[in-house]
Every structure is written in structure tokens, then in C-alpha cells.
């Protein structure tokens, strides 16, 4: 099968270092991976093409790149899956990271953020004679997060990192969860206390990009959501994010529907003048255009059934 491979290039040592595209014509078969293809190009067509790889079997995590716009492991992706009838594929370096050359990016900020969550076990008390014991089911659960190979795909496609490079990001937060949820670790509360701060668990916009692209099923966003709940249960419920979730649940439990007019008010609090003002211009414009939610929020006709479910499953504290 014939294939056109478009690769986004960048050479810092060029006279005018600007990104450009190279296109290569290659032949592939049913089993050829994207990585095979790129290595063949480098060996036979263009020795200047730079990329990272090592294991070629989806273990080492070094070959993440954007294939047709989404981050994935080049060695785990067969060309025949993404371009079944030949045609073309587009290869770019990962996003949200500085390009060093061609497909090689600078992962220093990635590692710094992983280090920032204290990614080591901190048990308490005297050291046991043998090993630290943990129940089987807990370890089975943790295996899901420990499967992370630190490839960076999730960070590449995270939508918050695109606008805010301070955000801890999915990989570091998934790593944090790995210790928060470890029964042998003694620092759950202090960990949650620091993760709930600015740029932590509440800054995720729930876009699911990380869940979609992770080659190891780590589902970073799902872990972040669990940590939000753990943080709220640990008493860290004054964050604006925590108040937003609480307000949402309370409003739906009352009328069965979401009352959008009350949500921002409940979230920031009636007396948070600065935040209320920030909603005001939009609110006013919306009012003029007739776009405001109905002031008298309608209840569901059989709202008592919904309230009963809430009373039983999410009793008020």
C-alpha cells in the first residue's frame, strides 16, 4: 500500500528556524506501525529526521507524537488502522511542549510537575520486618494508574495546558492519585490539601482528551474527579470548585433540573461582590437580548420521585 507521510519539521540550527512540512512517499503493509514508517524514512530517505524511540513495544513511553492531530504512541499505532486505504497521514510533535527538533520535544516541565506531587510512598510508623502489606483489591485498583508509562500523550492534548502552562496536568495528577489512593501512604490529607490549590484538581475542565488519548487506560480525568470528591470529604469544601459541585447537586436535588440563574450565585456566594460583578456584564447583556434563564425555575412535574432518590443516595450532611 502506498502512503504519503506529512511530517512537521523544525530545525533550531537552520538560518531561519521556523516550522515547515516534509512529505515522504513510502510503502507500508498491514502490520507497519507509524514508528516503523518513520524509522524507514530516516534510514532510507532522509537522515536528518529526528525522533525519539526505544522499546518499539509500547513500554518505554518515548515515542509519543501527534498522529492525525491526536497524541499517541507511534509504535502502538498501525498505519493500516488510521489510513485503511492508503492515502496520507500527518505526523506532528506533541503539543504543549517546546519542540527541540522535529518530533523531539522538551519534557523538562513534564518531569518537574511529576516531581512536584512528591511521587513516592510516605508510610507512617516503624518499618515492618517484611514488606508493607496492602490488600489485594487495593493494589488491583492501583494497577490501573501504575500502568502509566509517562509518555506525555495526555499532557500533549490537555486543553487547559494550552491556555495555562501552570496547570499540573493529567499525568502529574494521575501520579498524585496513585499515592493518595495507596493504603500504605500516610499523607492522603496533606496531599489533597496541596492538590486542591490553584492549578490543581479544580482547574481541569473535564474535556476527556487525556482519557481518550492515554495508551494505557490510566484515565487521568477520572482520577482527578475521584480526588475532587476525596478532597471535599476530607473537609476541603470551601474551594470555588467544591462549592460549584455542591451547589449543582443541591439545585438538581431540589427541582430535578438545573437552575442556571442560581448556580453562579450559589457557587461564588451572594456576598462575593467581586465575583458577582464579573458575572454582571454578561448577565445584563443577556437580559437585554432576552437570553436570560427563566426567573421562576420550573419544577419537574413529579419532582418528589427525584428528591426521594437524592435523599437516599446523597443525604445532606
Amino acid at each position: 500500500m502506498d502512503l504519503a507521510v506529512k511530517v512537521r519539521r523544525y530545525d533550531p540550527e537552520a538560518k531561519e528556524p521556523i516550522p515547515y512540512w516534509s512529505e515522504y512517499k513510502v510503502e507500508v503493509d498491514e502490520y507497519t506501525t507509524v514508528l516503523d514508517t518513520l524509522i524507514n524514512i530516516r534510514e532510507d530517505i532522509d537522515g536528518t529526521l529526528s525522533l525519539r524511540c526505544s522499546c518499539r513495544s509500547a513500554i518505554c513511553g518515548s515515542c509519543s507524537m501527534r498522529v492525525n492531530g491526536h497524541a499517541q504512541l507511534a509504535c502502538k499505532t498501525r498505519v493500516s488502522e488510521i489510513a485503511p486505504d492508503g492515502g496520507s497521514v500527518t505526523i506532528e510533535p506533541m503539543g504543549n511542549m517546546e519542540v527541540i527538533k522535529d518530533l523531539v520535544v522538551d519534557m523538562t516541565p513534564f518531569w518537574d510537575k511529576v516531581k512536584a506531587v512528591d511521587p513516592w510512598l510516605q508510610p507512617e510508623g516503624p518499618e515492618p520486618e517484611g514488606e508493607y502489606l496492602a490488600p489485594n483489591e487495593d493494589m488491583l485498583h492501583l494497577a490501573g494508574v501504575m500502568g502509566c508509562i509517562l509518555c506525555g500523550a495526555c499532557v500533549s492534548d490537555c486543553t487547559v495546558l494550552e491556555v495555562d502552562s501552570n496547570f499540573l496536568g493529567p499525568a502529574a495528577l494521575a501520579k498524585a492519585y496513585r499515592f493518595v489512593a495507596d493504603p500504605r501512604d500516610s499523607q492522603e490529607k496533606p496531599r489533597l490539601d496541596s492538590l486542591r490549590q490553584y492549578s490543581g484538581i479544580w482547574d481541569c475542565t473535564r474535556c476527556m482528551e487525556c482519557v481518550q488519548v492515554c495508551p494505557k487506560g490510566v484515565a487521568p480525568m477520572d482520577r482527578i474527579m475521584v480526588m475532587r470528591d476525596l478532597a471535599m470529604n476530607a473537609g476541603f469544601d470551601k474551594e470555588i470548585g467544591a462549592r460549584h459541585t455542591d451547589a449543582f447537586v443541591e439545585l438538581v436535588s431540589h427541582s430535578g433540573r438545573l437552575d442556571e440563574l442560581k448556580l453562579p450565585v450559589k457557587t461564588v456566594g451572594m456576598f462575593n461582590i467581586r465575583a458577582m460583578q464579573s458575572f454582571a456584564p454578561v448577565g445584563l447583556r443577556a437580559l437585554v437580548r432576552g437570553k436570560m434563564p427563566p426567573i421562576f425555575h420550573k419544577m419537574l412535574p413529579n419532582v418528589e420521585n427525584v428528591r426521594r432518590i437524592f435523599r437516599k443516595l446523597e443525604p445532606k450532611k
Binding site: D203, T205, C207, Q212, F248, L258, P264, A275, K291, I309
Partner: protein, 294 residues
Amino acid sequence: MSKYAFFPGCVSRGGCPELYPAAMQVCRRLGIELEEMVGASCTGAGVLQEKNQFLGDVLNARTFAMAEWMGLPIMTICSTCQGVMSQANKRLTDDPEYLARVNAELAEEYLEYKGTTVVKHLLWIIIEDIGVETLKTHVRNPLTHLKVAPFYGCYILRPSNALGFKDYPGRETSLEELIEAIGGEVVNFSGKSRCCGFPILTINEANSVAMVGKHTSEAADMGADAMVTPCPLCHLNLDGYQPKAMAQSQRKTNLPILHLPQLMGLAMGLDPDELGLQKHIISTGDLVSKAVPA
């Protein structure tokens, strides 16, 4: 005639009241018959699920059971409702024991979900059930002069394994297909599958608004006359917060953001005012004059 149990969602009658009538008019034209699910609750929108996923699944199973009882598939008009319901439906139908636990909570209302309800967004219904060819026969006013940027909303794209992309690979490009069917030119910009920023609006407004600015300016730079979205929450942010985004980025985008049924309605020759196009924050005036020959 195709018939559906209509789940309008909170926002189509709340924050985006123009969406509901626009969707109704378009469905009437296309011969889509709707029976509204008046007793169904909010899906939880992913927010409630943060706190208590089981509760969310019980509420959605309740809605699915009602549709089963009506003997109809569900139609949504919101990417977020669609995604949250699809995810819940997957959990419920993947695991019979889990479904039984959820059903136990519904017993008091004499409801039981058997696991057969299909949930489809209007976008998918048009492409898969009505068909692009039928849609074309309803176009009175092809949007040939318009460049339209599609904006999906996260929940109707991810996670793809809950959204039936394996059986319906066309879903990934359904908006583009629809824009072309009504005569428009697709602006293929990279932001189309990204996040509008709405979920963090009250939590980190600067980031949320920066996302609005990023997507609207990318589309505007590529010559878009308008952006269309099947998600009213994306609409709330991309339209309502575009003025703030313009102030933040010092870039005048003024890009009209249309709900999916509004764009279709324009192509079908429906009255722009009745489609609620005058209710937007970013004026749609120029767009309407460009789209509808005087």
C-alpha cells in the same frame, strides 16, 4: 415518520431559550415526531457524577426506563446531555449486576430499566436516521456563501468507546457532513474538537475565557462567517463570553455562534427571528443578511 422521546435538557429552556423552539421547528420540517419527556430529570452534566456517579446513573436509568416504557429512542439536543447519557448507558448495559443494583433504587416508582434504550443527538439522527439526501430536499436557501466552523463539544466526541464510534464512524465528522449538505463551506480548524471552557467558568474564568478566545480567533483567522455547535453549553461560553475574550486578547472576533438547528433552519428558509437569532450576545445581523438573500 421517525418518532423520538425528546429530552430537551435544562439549558435549551434555561440559559439558551432560543434553542428549544429552533429545534422544534427544524424537527417539524424534517418530519421528526417528538414526544417530550416531561418527567425526566437533569442528567447530572458530569458535575453531579464527580460527587456521586451511582446517583447519576440512577437518575439516567430512570430516564431510560421512561423511554423504554414509551417504546421510543431518546433524542437529545445537547452534546453534554448526550455524552453523559451515553456513558451512563454503557455502564448500565455492560454489567447486569450493576444494572440490578440501580434498578433497585427505581422500584419504588415502579420503573425498571431493561437496557434497551437508544440515545441519539439530533445531529446523529439527521445523518443516520433521516439521511443527508432527505435533508437536502428540505433546503430552500443553500448557504453557499457561508464559511462555517464546526465546534462539537467534548462530550459528543469523548470517550469515543461510549459514543458508538465503532459502529458509526461517521459520527466523528457528522457536523462537517451536515454543513456541506446544506451548502456551506467547512472551516476545518484545529479547535473544533477541543473544549469551550464552560466547565471551569466559575472556577478559573481567565482560563475559560482564554479558550473562547483561542477557538474563536482561530476560526475567524481562517475566514469563518460563523461557528456552529450541537452543544448549548459551548454556545453559552463561546457566545456569552466572547466579549470578555475579545477584551482579554485585544482581538476583535465578533464571530456569531449558532446552535445546530439555527443553522439548519436558515438553510431551510425558516424565519431568522423565530429561530431566535436576535437573542445572541454576538450579533448575527451581518450573518443573516449574508445567508438570506433579501
